[in-house]
Amino acid sequence: MTSKRVRQTFRPGAVLLPAFAALLLVPLFAAFAPLFDGGALSNLARAFSEPRFARSFSYGLSQAFVSALLAALVGLPGAFLLARRRFPGKRILSALSAVPFCVPPLIIAIGFVLYYGREGILNRALMSLFKLDEPPVRFLYSFVGVVMAHGFYNFPVVMSLVGGAWASSPKRHEDAARLLGASESRVFMTVTLPSIMPAIGAALSLVFLMCFYSFIIVLLFGGPGVGTPEVELYRAARFEFDRPLASAFALVETLVAMLALAVYGAFEKHAGVNRRDAERVAPGPFSSYLGAGAALLYGAFIVVCFMGPLASILVESLTLRTAARGSSALGLGNYASLFARKGFAAAAFNTMVLGLSSATIAAATGFVFSVGLKRTRSTLASKVLPLLPLGVSSVVLAYGWNAALGRPSVFALAAVQAVTAYPFVLRAIQSSVGLSDERYVEAARMLGSSRLGSTLRVRLPMAVPALASGFALAFAMSAGDANAIIAAPVGGFETIALMLYRLAGAYRLNEACAAAVVLAVVTGFIFFMKDVRDGIA
């Protein structure tokens, strides 16, 4: 007699993935739905006929494109240094790769105001040095200002992504070219450059995407009447109550972003292929004084232009303005008044709760997806589909949740932040789970473990450090995010990031800087988590 046993298996992916898809798709469709009020085509035609529609896309695309180029210009020398040279301070340069992910853009924006503003540190220093009457640096509130902020903010993305590929660009290929008679410049142009080109393309498209969706920096520096589609969407929905127009912005900007994402995915796929058969070139010392001098100049440039704005926040937070104009002293008074501010404790608590919630969702989904990806053949679809949330902006999602729920909600904020952080969390987790040896799981299964059992007893413990890093990254991104909460403010619910935005808007810059430093301490610790940096790279 034979008995048929139906084996019951529980697959977390079967619950988590549809749930996550719902977190992405419900707000997305809700964001697009108002377009159908009175006919989608007529609404789209109306949107396209509005001059600001074309203007905003032209502005958004051009600023993103130029910003990506600037990020490449600043990031590529750093990528070379990280990949091929040994020098003191290399770890610090390498740690900068976490800046775009763990330092909120709001902090960068305030840093830029303090440093490059008309009365900023740079202008004051230049004016006193060269005895000038007018501040020489006046680009901040313009296209150039937006591009500079984006370029400097995102150069570590290029440096990190390209640096990783450069470090693993195949040594033997370069050796083979040398032996075939190629000069060093020819080796670079014909062997090294083609091998890092996919990484350059991936980095540029990622930076393009991040700048295209930039919100705060454009809102602050773009000036009146100028805005990216993201900012125009916000204005149309928040101040003009023109929901069909806001939906048209949401739809078209999502389509544009998806194109950029497809480009990113294609480059990323090739970058992955190239990395597989790589043999690393060990970084060496500088071969000439000229090279060492150029690296020193580069380091000085990064310190002055990139670290300067960040350092000025700390200085400003410790500067106590007194009643007499121009006089100031150093102290912790700004922190004292910030902590004493009504609502600060609640904001800190809300930041923690929101961060932990969105990090839990993002890390759990990231783990399930990364395990799922191990079982999927590596195709463009399997690379791009999990990264789809990269192509959707937090403003669109927040707007969509508002439309779907009829009112702003804290749940919606957590969902938006989880979805936004998830692609980066996935990368952080994949850098461990994705690369861990599949044979361990196979061995567990051969020893009688079920699929779920081997995942829980073998894969999960092996992935714990990377999961912790992914969780921390998601927490930091959530804590620093002001976009979603500005786009869909929830009455009576304030976070430190929102408080910072309001303080800056009220020109209480010293307290804003103290809040920025507090926020940076909360988010900046992931600077030191190697898995996070590896994941980002």
């Binding site: 033997r172 050796d175 083979a176 070219a177 032996l179 075939l180 190629a182 014909t190 083609p194 058969d277």
Partner: protein, 357 residues
């Protein structure tokens, strides 16, 4: 045709040093064999100019090229993992060095075409490296290296990632090309059989040094040291306890027994070596003159008892892993004459085949 000479080419790291002196005869193949990590690849990279030696000289055709850039040495290299440029197709790979030399387009096409035909890959011009099999990739790598007509070609374990049958075929192709074009070749491998088959001369390396360099036959029959003998596996290498002279004969005493040796053998070595073919099974235990137990010397022959640990069937012959006095070695027997695993037998050893190392 030019020769290649390495004179005390040295590279030192905190825990290891590679110090090599070698000469590759013009138009011949010098095979370099040795265990993994013995410094073969470092030696090759120093010759290619990809690794800067700490000291020593390198001569190509009598010209000192120690400080010359890799591109100016007239040396080509076929890499272990092929190192084909993944972004270029087969044509682009083979044409790479010719383009560096600014060869005219028509001439270049003809040359690449003839090279690909020579390695049996005509019609593969537009394929990318990932579309080729391992053997095809290796042949493209060979064509690419030969395209620039180097005077010396270095082969860094070029066939190690291929299966045995393909390895043999490609080995023959390489030898054929070498004979046809007459370049000097240095062929590095950890596969002894491959090294003996391909090398006109064979250098055995260990711990960063060349232990012996001679023809494969010479190395097989007359290893200069126990380390070479053990690497070659050409026969047992028994530690000598002492030497004795009795009845006008010189004997080497080992733990296994006492072996008569010719007088022209120096009586100051530490190991007794004989070719594995010199051990004949005998059924005569403890003949008169035997020293102790079943081993000793029989009718002017040394006799040893050895246990068969494992017998591997290899077609017409059987390779047996043997053990005697703590020493392990392989003996090859004709089918039907091999011992069974676990069986202990006596073997007569011809004194003319015995050497003291």
């Amino acid at each position: 045709m030019v020769s290649l000479e390495l004179v005390r080419l040295t590279k030192a790291w905190p825990l290891e040093t590679v110090d090599v002196s070698l000469e590759a005869e013009a138009g011949k193949v010098l095979a370099v064999a040795g265990p993994s990590g013995c410094g073969k690849s470092t030696m090759l990279r120093m010759v290619a100019g990809l690794e800067r030696p700490d000291s020593g000289k390198l001569f190509v055709g009598g010209i000192d090229v120690t400080s010359t850039e890799p591109s100016g040495r007239g040396i080509g290299m076929v890499f272990q993992d092929y190192a084909l440029f993944p972004h270029l197709d087969v044509f682009g790979n083979v044409a790479y060095g010719l383009r560096v030399r600014r060869m005219r387009r028509v001439e270049l096409r003809a040359r690449v075409g003839s090279l690909l035909a020579a390695v049996g890959l005509a019609g593969y011009e537009r394929r990318k490296p990932h579309e080729l099999s391992g053997g095809e990739r290796q042949r493209v790598a060979l064509a690419r290296t030969l395209a620039v007509e180097p005077a010396v070609v270095l082969f860094d374990e070029p066939l190690s990632s291929l299966d045995a049958a393909l390895r043999k075929r490609l080995r023959a192709d390489i030898v054929e090309e070498q004979r046809r074009l007459g370049f000097t070749a240095v062929y590095v491998t950890h596969d002894l059989e491959e090294a003996m088959a391909i090398g006109d001369t064979l250098a055995v390396m260990d711990s960063g040094k060349v232990l012996q360099c001679a023809t494969p036959r010479e190395l097989w029959e007359n290893p200069a040291s126990a380390a070479v003998a053990r690497f070659m596996g050409s026969g047992p290498c028994l530690p000598i306890v002492c030497f004795e002279r009795a009845g006008g004969h010189l004997f080497a005493v080992t733990e296994t027994g006492k072996f008569p040796i010719d007088d022209d053998n120096a009586a100051d070595g530490s190991f007794l070596f004989f070719e594995r073919g010199a051990a004949e099974p005998t059924t005569t235990p403890g003949l008169p003159g035997a020293v102790s137990g079943p081993s000793g010397h029989d009718d002017g022959h040394g006799v040893m008892a050895a246990r068969c640990l494992r017998a591997d069937f290899a077609g017409d012959v059987v390779d047996c892993a043997m053990q005697t006095g703590g020493e392990r070695f392989t003996l090859r027997f004709r089918k039907g004459r091999a011992p069974e695993a676990g069986e202990e037998r006596l073997y007569r050893v011809n004194p003319t085949s015995v050497r003291v190392l």
